[in-house]
């Protein structure tokens, strides 16, 4: 009887550990146009051969949460299984006229895009609670001190969700990774170019460190 209880107990513990480690829900969060989908695509392409979603120079291209159920990543002899969750960019304002003025979009189309984008932001926030770990993707050419970035990181900290900060677009001359690092001194920050795959090995190293905390 005692042996049976002990056996069941250890089985449950191992099952729980194995289940958690084998399917880590990894979220991609950040402001619009930082390169969340580009990075998620890079991972998916590298390990499944398929992309997760479309990318565009126009902000709010991702307006729904997108998933890739099973992505097996191997790095330096270790294997991890992730569920990738690519979320719409979080913003505090959305103006359809930005799409018509800056990107010459038709008014109806711009209004529809803005409407979908507002819903996307709400959906992205709702998903915060479901993440095991999060990659916060920031555009390294932009000011990292924006309140949206601080709010995202603050919420993850409050929920005890491990965070990796990625400074994307380091291939651009204006990129300033030092500024990103100084804005978030308590976090692991890695600079990459998701578009060109620059520094991706360092990113995988940091990703596996992050997965350990999940």
């Amino acid at each position: 009887m005692v042996i049976k209880i002990f056996r069941d107990f250890t089985k449950r513990i191992f099952a729980a550990i194995f289940r958690r480690k084998s399917n880590i829900k990894l979220g991609f969060y950040g402001p619009p146009n930082a390169g969340k989908t580009s990075l998620a695509n890079k991972l998916c392409k590298d390990w499944t051969g398929e992309e997760i979603g479309k990318v565009s120079a126009i902000p709010h291209e991702t307006r729904n949460v997108q998933f890739k159920e099973e992505v097996n990543i191997s790095y330096k002899g270790k294997n991890l299984k992730f569920k990738l969750i690519d979320t719409p960019g979080i913003a505090t304002k959305i103006d359809y006229e930005d799409f018509t003025n800056k990107f010459k979009m038709k008014k109806k189309q711009a209004q529809q895009r803005a409407k979908e984008a507002t819903k996307g932001v709400v959906e992205a926030i709702k998903w915060l609670d479901d993440m095991d770990a999060v990659i916060v993707v920031l555009d390294a050419t932009k000011n990292p001190y924006s309140q949206v970035n601080i709010t995202i990181v603050g919420n993850l900290l409050a929920r005890n969700i491990p965070v990796l900060i990625v400074g994307n677009k380091i291939d651009l001359r204006k990129a300033d990774l030092k500024k990103v690092e100084s804005a978030f001194p308590e976090y692991d920050v890695v600079g990459i170019s998701a578009k060109y795959g620059k520094n991706i090995d360092e990113f995988y190293e940091s990703l596996f460190k992050l997965a350990k905390k999940a």
């Binding site: 505090t92 803005a114 507002t118 915060l128 001190y145």
Partner: protein, 133 residues
Amino acid sequence: MKKRMKKSVMKGLTIQFVPFSEISRLDSVERIKKLLKVILSNKVIVLQGRLKPEEETRLIEDTMIMIDNIKGFKGVELAVISADKSEAAFIQKIKLGIANALVGHQDDLTIIGPATIVKEMKRDPKKLEIMMR
């Protein structure tokens, strides 16, 4: 039917100071409601203290819903200025931590403005620039 926001032709900027005592007894939903009501009347809020992280996301969520439902409303610009505690001694930091847990971050200032009036808030570690439309 969509509500319509008052046309925001700027005739003068109104800044409303909200002391922490005015929101300290409200729950999160009421706090956000109160702040958004001021924003909808085209005023810029200077709030003593700061919202909790989950209140900040709630503010963003409610803002998005309002963009969808109130014609002319385009969202908010938001920034928090925190007192620099990096130089404080260890004991001082502990004291501040306890004080913050008890009465909130009253040393901080939160500035929230409607996006139709405030074009951008540029925050650097030591300064905040507010650009108006």
